[in-house]
């Protein structure tokens, strides 16, 4: 499978990719994007199977990205990896079509719990 990791922080993108490997998901191709706008272009170009996106980013936020995808009929699997995990945000994410919200700081176990239903 192909995964798209979206975060404006290069350091955090690298940590997410490393944590994916530690969680046992090391056989998947990973593509990176720096914000929602870049993610839309990378989704067009690479057709990933799952998007792991930060919420708070310049240019286009994660929730704007998700709403843009769903608004154009794209039902790609989508989860947030974000520093904010309030009940309100989880509800907003779920209502917009996100499968899960992983809150930073995270652990490989947290990744496995969230990704297992999607990636197996």
């Amino acid at each position: 499978m192909r995964l798209l990791v979206v975060d404006d922080s290069r350091v955090m993108r690298q940590i997410v990719v490393r944590t994916l490997r530690q969680a046992g998901y090391d056989g998947h191709e990973v593509v990176e994007a720096v914000d929602g706008v870049d993610a839309l272009a990378k989704i067009d170009e690479h057709a990933p199977d799952l998007v792991l996106s930060d919420w708070n980013m310049p240019n286009m936020t994660g929730i704007e990205l998700l709403r843009s995808l769903r608004g154009s009929g794209n039902g790609i699997e989508f989860g947030f990896v974000t520093s904010e995990g309030s009940d309100d945000m989880r509800e907003v994410a779920q209502n917009a079509g996100a499968r899960f919200v992983i809150v930073k700081p995270f652990t490989p176990e947290g990744f496995r719990d969230a990704l297992q239903p999607v990636l197996g």
Binding site: S9, R10, V11, M12, I15, N56, S83, E84, P105
Partner: protein, 163 residues
């Protein structure tokens, strides 16, 4: 500078610090106040806005910021982080701190993007709580500030100094 009645306690913020250092840095931390020079210290901060407005900051000497970046990027001994990487790493620590503090503060509705530099704390900010951090051979401070005079947000002064 007088601390306000805390909307979030230093103990609660410390629990977040411990989690972040363990998760992002793979390192235990000690709660300890150490003096360090603020002239060349780096501060990363994220703003919280809404019914309650404030800042969450992490301030440390340049060597500690380098160490954060080196660990977060899993660099080899021979590789030095770029200044962009150092600012990115410190900003991301502030971002994660800010997101978790936001969940504890009633009225904090929106999280800003991280900013990194020297002197990020506005003149209208009053210290809410602060923790000193020691890990390996490095030190840092994490602080929560309340903006009590939003008209002076652009009037910046040195970050990291508290009561």
């Amino acid at each position: 500078m007088t601390a306000l009645a805390p909307v979030v306690s230093a103990d609660a913020v410390w629990e977040i610090v411990v989690e972040i250092w363990e998760s992002l840095l793979g390192s235990p931390v000690l709660r300890a106040e150490h003096a360090f020079g603020l002239d060349d210290a780096l501060t990363a901060g994220v703003a919280l806005h809404g019914g309650w407005s404030g800042l969450v900051t992490v301030t440390c000497p340049p060597a500690a910021a380098d160490a954060l970046a080196r660990t977060m990027l899993a660099l080899d001994e021979a590789d030095a982080p770029t200044s962009e990487d150092v600012e990115d790493a410190l900003g991301e620590v502030a971002n994660v701190l800010g997101g978790n503090v936001k969940a504890l503060v009633p009225g904090a509705e929106r999280l800003g993007l991280p900013r990194v530099g020297r002197g990020l704390v506005p003149a209208g900010a009053v210290l809410v709580c602060r923790n000193g951090i020691e890990w390996q051979d490095h030190v840092a401070r994490v602080a929560v500030w309340q903006l009590v005079d939003v008209t002076s947000q652009d009037d910046e002064k040195d970050g990291g100094q508290g009561s």
